[in-house]
Subunit: 82 residues, 2 copies
């Protein structure tokens, strides 16, 4: 059994309106030292696979099939056998 | 300057409806080996601080002030000087 931790964020070129909203809210709460905020999605997915390389291929497949918007988002993941 | 990576997830006892929706969608796409899906929020926040312990205290403060719902969510973070 494998646990994939998947981090989905906007591509560099894409404006992150939610991040801007959070930054200005933090400034209003007096956290003036905050310079940049990016918000993304985080997934923890438990699944069965024969081995690590098969698991990595499976994560890429289902992430690209369902979890990200290819036009605006990018992702990275960590994999651990559990 | 510090970069905080903050992972916000539901507490164990809380039902994750979005996670259930994604799991059934993955099953419909034939990823039958998927057993559990949890979706959370992921933040990358760049900010200034005097040192690592001040930075950690600041992350706890602004995360608990704005980024999580204390009733249903928990968080962990990683900190790096950049």
């Amino acid at each position: 059994m494998y646990l994939a931790k998947i981090y989905v964020t906007y591509k560099q070129s894409i404006l992150d309106p939610q991040g801007e909203v959070i930054k200005s809210a933090l400034h209003r709460l007096d956290y003036q030292t905050v310079e940049r905020v990016n918000q993304g999605k985080y997934f923890e997915i438990m699944f069965a696979a024969d081995n690590e390389s098969a698991a990595a291929a499976e994560v890429k497949a289902f992430t690209e099939a369902l979890l990200i918007n290819h036009n605006t988002e990018t992702y990275r993941f960590e994999l651990a056998e559990v």
